[in-house]
Symmetry: D2
Subunit: 388 residues, 4 copies
């Protein structure tokens, strides 16, 4: 990567605060590792627990001074906003129902925001956050982290330069096994629809699949014929969803997501066919991108291998053949949004290639997708259109 660093742009690292992701959370550690990997951030404050003593202990264990260990996200925002050396970026990794309110408060206090998906549990909240981002002129990055993988970006870049021709057919699936067994979730809030949202499977992974499709193709989903429900007996939340898709250019597609496929780990997979060829990518082997051009031998594209396009090239840290994975992809989002924030805050121009992180518009589209899938499913599978 020949990009500048935040250090070069600002003369210092960005001051980051985190809310959520306390002891036992893997996504909390993931955020902080992603923030550290490329050294663009300095962690200055955290709210790692709603219990003050736990918040203090957890914060100190990661090197924070006691006075910047908060037990409440809102308190963190207001307190940090008043400090001269206060956090300027807030990363949110709390249960889904608090994403929107925390993001709104942070935006109001002049912070840029990095937020776990889904953006919110309701369409109205997503709309409000998206409007606040525009109104306050701030940056919001939604951690649809799969768009940070070098070969997902390569796929997008290949579609953009026309390697597939007109997109015709898309399949995306996200098949996990984490909820194959009946019983309570490891994280209780997930079993409470008030906190986890109207459709757990759609919020958790359906939005990832939807975003991956949108990111690579550059198309929107315009209508769905869908089925969503619960396949594991006596579960209070949805654990599978399927949808036939119409895309904004007339292409057709299929989406299938579940967390109830026993024995599966984390099977995210996409196939995109256009008039000139097909691309296939799967999370299980993220360093392989299959490109099957019409009438020519199939190709395997690798990170930084021959044919790598600029958007993908800047997303790998090493030469071809050295596999990077989940953390690096997550860090790519942190790096891109960090560079963007630093450029904006220092009055510089941002590079176009830094702008491919998911944002509040993507979050809003995700909520619209969830609503349409739920509506179609209630309507016996009938095609339901999304707002254009």
């Amino acid at each position: 990567m020949s990009d500048p660093t935040v250090m070069q742009l600002l003369g210092r690292r960005l001051r980051l605060a985190v809310v959520g992701g306390g002891p036992g959370s893997f996504i909390g550690a993931m955020h902080r590792q992603a923030a550290r990997l490329d050294d663009h951030y300095q962690l200055v404050a955290a709210a790692l627990s709603s219990r003050p003593d736990a918040a203090l202990q957890a914060g100190q264990s990661i090197g924070l001074p006691p006075e910047r260990c908060y037990a409440d996200g809102a308190a963190l925002i207001t307190a940090e906003a008043q400090r001269a050396d206060g956090a300027e970026v807030l990363a949110i990794m709390t249960p889904n129902d608090s994403h929107a309110s925390l993001a709104l408060l942070a935006l109001q206090h002049g912070m840029d925001v990095i937020c776990d998906k889904p953006l919110s549990n309701t369409l109205a909240e997503a709309q409000a956050v998206h409007e606040a981002v525009q109104r306050h002129g701030r940056i919001l990055c939604l951690t649809h982290n799969y768009s940070g993988f070098p070969l997902v970006r390569q796929a997008k870049a290949m579609v953009m330069q026309g390697d597939l021709g007109d997109i015709r057919l898309v399949q995306v699936e996200y098949v996990q096994g984490g909820r194959a067994v009946a019983g309570p979730s490891r994280r209780p809030w997930k079993d409470d629809p008030v906190r986890s949202g109207p459709s757990l499977v759609l919020g958790d992974i359906g939005t990832h699949a939807h975003q991956l499709l949108r990111f690579i193709t550059g198309l929107e989903v315009s209508a769905v014929a869908a089925d969503v429900g619960t396949i594991v007996p006596s579960r209070p939340t949805h654990d599978f969803a399927g949808a036939l898709l119409q895309l904004s250019n007339g292409a057709r597609g299929c989406l299938w997501v579940t967390q109830a496929a026993a024995g599966m780990e984390n099977g995210l997979r996409i196939r995109i066919s256009g008039a000139l060829g097909t691309l296939e990518w799967a999370l299980e082997q993220p360093t392989v991108l299959h490109f099957k051009p019409l009438g020519a031998p199939a190709q395997i594209r690798t990170p930084n291998g021959p044919g790598t396009l600029p958007l993908a090239a800047r997303s790998s840290r090493i030469v071809a053949g050295h596999p990077e994975g989940f953390h690096e992809a997550f860090a790519n989002l942190y790096t891109d949004v960090g560079l963007t924030i630093a450029a904006v805050r220092s009055g510089r121009t941002t590079d176009t290639l830094w702008q491919y992180f998911p944002n509040s518009w993507d979050g809003l589209q995700g909520l619209r997708f969830i609503e349409a899938v739920l509506a179609s499913s209630r309507d016996m599978g009938r095609w339901t259109h999304l707002p254009t």
Copy 2:
């Protein structure tokens, strides 16, 4: 395979006639190769062309005497039926619209039948053939040849013995690239809906996907929410179809088939999840069956490898590690139906393990599936139920 041979059961090979599959056809050669592989059949007559001179030349080129080279399937059936040494089994590989009438005529003349799929272009014809099979007490094998692959049979046997527990989720896809480019088919009758049926993609490969799902799971599709159409501009026939599925036990599924995915070859793939684990099989690597049991390491099952069940064991000709493919799977159907025919004709009992070839009931269910998919698609994707 420790099964007897037809030679042992009858003291001779079964006398086989073929209709269709003349010069330039690969499926014709395939049928005859499959019939030869295990040596249960003697080819005695053929109608390889509707032009008498071409039929004569083609028949002689494969070693038939002139008087048994016919230019018409019906003529073959009636003539052979009158010979003491006449064909007793008819293999049909003509365009789709003649399958049913040839099968009916052969059954009426006491022949057993091996027929290419789909069984017919209309539900009424499929019903008629299925009834004739019962009425005449004859055997009909429908060449849904993927059910002949050793590991597809292993998957079925594992489901039958409960390795997956209750089936919950099924995905099946058949993604080909043969029709990715606009323009006429290599075989003109395919472009004529009168001959190729109401939905080319469903007749060609949709029924394969549907049958593969039914074969392995032992479940029926009870309802579909579907979308079928044409994605390549100006094509007169369907080239893609998607369907959400409800299965007879309440399981949910997804089916996606297309012949218009540029660069793809012959991508048939199925995943079946039950309460206890998941199975995955793909035609691209037919000697690998992934079994992912709940809470234990994932396994790779291979033909004749450790854990092979009887139905699969008898479907491999060699020790583990020697890959068998399409021809061998096709030959497995020929062998199973040949053994069954020979046993019935010699008054012996048939072995249960010989009975897993697709038959006229499967053909009838295939037509019902096609009708339901088309009906749902016309009805804006709404759930459409199949007759039970």
Copy 3:
């Protein structure tokens, strides 16, 4: 395949006799299936057992008349040679120590020969057979069947047309698990070095690896630094061998073969690197050929897929995406040698593309390789040169 058939060349099928491969043998069934698949042969005689009653029963069970069921290979050859309708091609699948004498006798009686590898147990015998083939002007095909796989032939053709540039580095391995457990072989003659030869592992699979390397690269092995021995305690025969290689153009290589790798099935794999790229093929997935050109994206070549060269194209029976396997590759040898024999016997010219079956020269080179490996191993691994 647009080649003529033996039927077209001769007006009839070739009359084939087999020696060996009786009840319980999978290689016997394999030969006969391979001979039937493309319909160029008629099986007319067999010696399937050295016990007359068993030979009679086995012969009749595959449809032979009693008088052509022999209990002795030599008797078969002399008797068939006197019949006007006698066998003209002899297929030999007996224990290794009888290959040479049977081949010599058959050649003397004017038969063409298809012989299992190794050609013999001793270099002198191999030399004698090779000279007899020249002297009698007959055809001998040695069933190094892996050279019949479409993508192995594609690899050879790509090397021939220069896709790799000068060959520099070769690795070949054949790692089986069939002898991982101590104790007697399923076939007792294998444990007897007099019958199975001076080095079981080299005769069984070392020659396959050696031939595969020679076939694809067109190079000879000119020197070896080798280690051969026994790793499973108390075994009377060799079960592993490794060799560093110098090839005739100065390229370097490595060969590793074993039958004692617990849990392995049949792992034959080769990698060839030249100045312009690398090819990789593995028997476990025989329908994938990896081509990694220098400075361009890696490619996956498939049978009959884009870029298929003529030698490979005629080795597939169906369109791309329909996996063919072990039987079909074996049948490709039978077809090629059958066409060659028929052309020679009918005074026609043979097609160059039919000539890529392994022959007595390959068998002779195989024995030279075995001798050199054994010599180097005895000499503490020192480089040992093969005759040029």
Copy 4:
């Protein structure tokens, strides 16, 4: 990972200095990213260039104060050793010929050391470093980073608990394409044998392959029959090496390494067979470990998947199915040595599971292996024994 953090052990992070890895180096960035990932280190000083102005600029660009930006490794060591807040750990990523002298100086000044491989260019230097480590009672971690991959550790743990039984056969290969084209290296010191050592390919990747084999099996290489040389015309350094191996328990093996395989990326692969089964791992797909037990279905083990043993479990940061790669494996070494250093420096006991990072003994064994390979190659491939 339930391990403590350095912060918990010491009340602060370890103070780290780096020598080498300046602008344009990917390994320098890699070290620093690895040091940051798990937050056990604070970078306090660096010598990133031998030109003072470049060293200053590079150091400041990563956030160091000017007075701790050195232009010389020795100067860094002596200056930092005098500071109360001086570096206590030195990471060395300079050209190979300076590894030993820097390590010795650091050890003399009481620093612990993290050093790129090979430990030195000569056996005498390696011996001296290993002795100094013992004498000074300090820690040295050699960055054979592949031993940090979770599934490499899982393989080791499975071997240790006897899943393979007695080890019998080992194959290891490291096949790269980075030097397939003639001409100077990207880094000129690599072309100078004085700086890069007596055999570039052995120092660069041969030691990795050797260490990977030793790490997983727990065995030593006791003798080699080897060939090492140059295959790309007019190259001044070695670019391929092959060796047959005798291991300390009598097992046999094969090692093949090259940097001249055109089109290859970074193909490190190992297969280990014992009496009870076989393990296979490849860097290209590092999240898959094939386990093929004798007489039972083959298994695929994944990071944190079912059956994960403690040594592997603590080497993954997230739940199964989220691929970690090269950086995470590198960071695992940094974490393990960091925990060990912190425990020793704080007078606590170290955990056994922290001790699996490669150390000076491994470095010494690597040099002995290089010497033996070179000796055998000079001696016409004859078996050459390593000191025991």
